[in-house]
């Protein structure tokens, strides 16, 4: 982690109140491994455009898309683990599998030693997620959305609200703004509220699925600084998927590069650069995938 962010995180550690554990949660085990994926596969069936005909009863044909292909990895407790890859590479599917929203076709995923299929209810107490779309009831205010989240996560509403307002204040959202409908907020602000919602429940595993994609530079910096701060102040493991190489390099302890559902490289940012014999992660991506990162970004913005 760069020095500037480290300093910021240290300073924050002195000032940030570490939230207490929510009531009556199943306790996580003392294992050092937060996530263990073994040969995880997930495929979907997508309709083939223009394939409807009388022969298939106008139901159309479907093609199999392998979203996650034999992924095996271990995420250590307390680290920020980055997953880098272009759109459609399987990043979000991997996050959904870890967050108990999808069932794997084969292979196993364990979160703090518990299988995500067998123990999904227990695991859901430990995790929270920030997705690329800040998914809220947009007509409701930030506080109303957070009250709802507090209730469904078993937090006393007042405690949840106080904690959320504290996080929102830290992220630069005023109290008056926190009480206005979210549809009137910028995307950057909505994403900060999403982060407050995720952290309000004191998760030990935070799944950050492209949390800074599409944010303005200031909001992006605020979010990145807060992620660093959380790492310094909480016993939380984070999975961060991103398109942003600088972000991955600044925040992540280790990075996995995923392409067409497969993990093709996994190491510290420095380790990856050494493996590829280069000094930039863009170049690392090119060496491992044969695809220029600028082209990937250009394809996605089309």
């Amino acid at each position: 982690m760069p020095k500037m962010l480290e300093k910021h995180a240290e300073k924050a550690a002195e000032t940030t109140v570490c939230p207490s554990s929510p009531l009556d949660l199943p306790q996580v085990s003392d294992t050092d491994i937060a996530i263990c994926c073994e040969a995880v596969c997930k495929s979907f069936f997508e309709p083939v455009e223009g394939s409807r005909s009388w022969r298939n009863g106008f139901l159309g044909e479907k093609k199999r898309v392998q979203a996650v292909d034999h992924v095996s990895l271990e995420v250590r407790r307390g680290e920020i683990f980055g997953v880098l890859g272009p759109n459609g590479s399987g990043k979000s599917t991997l996050i959904r599998l870890m967050s108990t929203l999808l069932l794997p076709d084969s292979g196993t995923i364990q979160v703090f030693g518990k299988d995500v299929v067998q123990h999904h209810y227990e695991i859901r107490h430990w995790i929270n997620r920030v997705s690329v779309e800040a998914s809220f009831f947009k007509k409701l205010s930030a506080v109303e959305n957070l009250r709802y989240a507090a209730r469904i996560y078993g937090l006393p509403v007042k405690q949840g609200e106080e904690k959320a307002l504290h996080i929102l204040k830290r992220l630069g959202i005023s109290k008056s703004k926190a009480y206005s409908p979210l549809e009137t907020h910028s995307r950057g602000m909505q994403q900060k509220v999403a982060i407050a919602r995720a952290l309000m429940t004191t998760p030990v595993l935070i799944l950050l699925d492209e949390p800074t994609t599409g944010l303005d530079p200031k909001s992006k910096r605020d979010v990145q600084q807060y992620v660093a701060e959380v790492k310094a102040t909480h016993d939380a493991t984070m999975i961060l998927t991103t398109h942003d190489m600088d972000e991955a390099e600044k925040l992540c302890d280790r990075v996995a590069i995923i392409d067409r559902g497969k993990i093709i490289a996994l190491d510290t940012p420095q380790g990856l650069k050494e493996q590829a014999g280069t000094d930039s992660l863009e170049e690392v991506f090119f060496r491992f995938t044969g695809v220029d990162w600028e082209e990937v970004l250009a394809d996605e913005s089309r």
Binding site: F44, R96, L101, R124, K139
Partner: protein, 270 residues
């Protein structure tokens, strides 16, 4: 403590839904206005020429009871069955499904909201109808009808739960398909006519619809002053139907949830 947090979670859905209604107040006003007009126009059919003047009051009440009960039952059915569609539209479906709550808590919260919301709307429509037609109904009869309403509610929530799986199975067409179930109940339950006028091949369906018994009992209470003891057979059928449909709905919903988790249909965009 766990029970308290599940009740707290159940209340989250009630609170959230009422707060959303407050934010979509203009929509609410429009829907309510339409419901009132709908009940009034249906009631006015009872005042048309072929009906003898001395019978008109009774026919108006017969039709109005149908409109009010159908309004209430539709709210129950729609709110429960659309709970998935609504969350998908707002983009919050994944957050709700990954929250550490039992699915029964989530759905019970939606059912509780549906009952409270349905009662609010039905009361407003009832007041408008009473004012418009200058109806005077014995409060004791209204109380009996309310008992019928409550007894019939679980059956409709059970049907709503079964219908709620359609948007889980098909994000694009599921919500529209729930109208097929709702339309069938409307056709066979004798909402605005006696089920005896249905063609013979449709009559067996009317016998399995909880709407038939709810409406029969409500009309007997409001038009003929039947008391709870006389309505026991219908109430018992409604209660039993609810006892069967709610667990059945929950079971079917859990199967559909597994299917959605296997095929990736919990996402916002299918």
């Amino acid at each position: 403590m766990k029970a308290v947090s599940q009740i707290n979670a159940m209340y989250a859905f009630v609170e959230r839904s009422f707060r959303l209604i407050r934010r979509y107040l203009a929509w609410e006003a429009v829907f309510l206005f339409y419901n009132i007009i709908n009940a009034l126009t249906i009631g006015l059919i009872g005042m048309t020429n072929p009906i003898a003047p001395e019978k008109q009051g009774e026919v108006v009440l017969y039709l109005v009871v149908g409109a009010l009960f159908w309004g209430f039952m539709s709210v129950l059915f729609e709110e429960v069955s659309n709970s998935i569609t609504w969350e998908r539209w707002e983009g919050t479906i994944e957050y709700t499904f990954m929250a550490p709550i039992r699915r029964i808590t989530h759905l019970a919260g939606m059912c509780l909201f549906a009952i409270l919301y349905g009662m609010c709307r039905t009361t407003i429509v009832l007041l408008a109808v009473v004012f418009f037609f200058d109806l005077s109904i014995d409060p004791g009869r209204i109380l009996t009808a309310l008992v019928v309403l409550f007894t019939g509610s679980p059956a409709f929530m059970g049907l709503g739960l079964i219908a709620a799986i359609l948007p889980l199975l098909s994000p694009e067409r599921g919500a529209q398909a729930t109208h097929i179930i709702q339309g069938l109940i409307l056709l066979v339950s004798g909402v605005y006519y006696s089920v005896s006028v249905l063609p013979g091949w449709l009559q067996p369906l009317s016998m399995i619809s909880p709407g038939t018994y709810a409406l029969e009992a409500a009309r007997a209470a409001l038009l003929k002053g039947a008391g709870i003891p006389e309505l026991l057979p219908q109430l018992l059928i409604l209660l039993l139907t609810g006892l069967v449909l709610i667990p059945l709905g929950l079971w079917i919903f859990s199967l559909a949830e597994q299917y959605a988790m296997r095929t990736g249909k919990l996402k916002r965009n299918g």
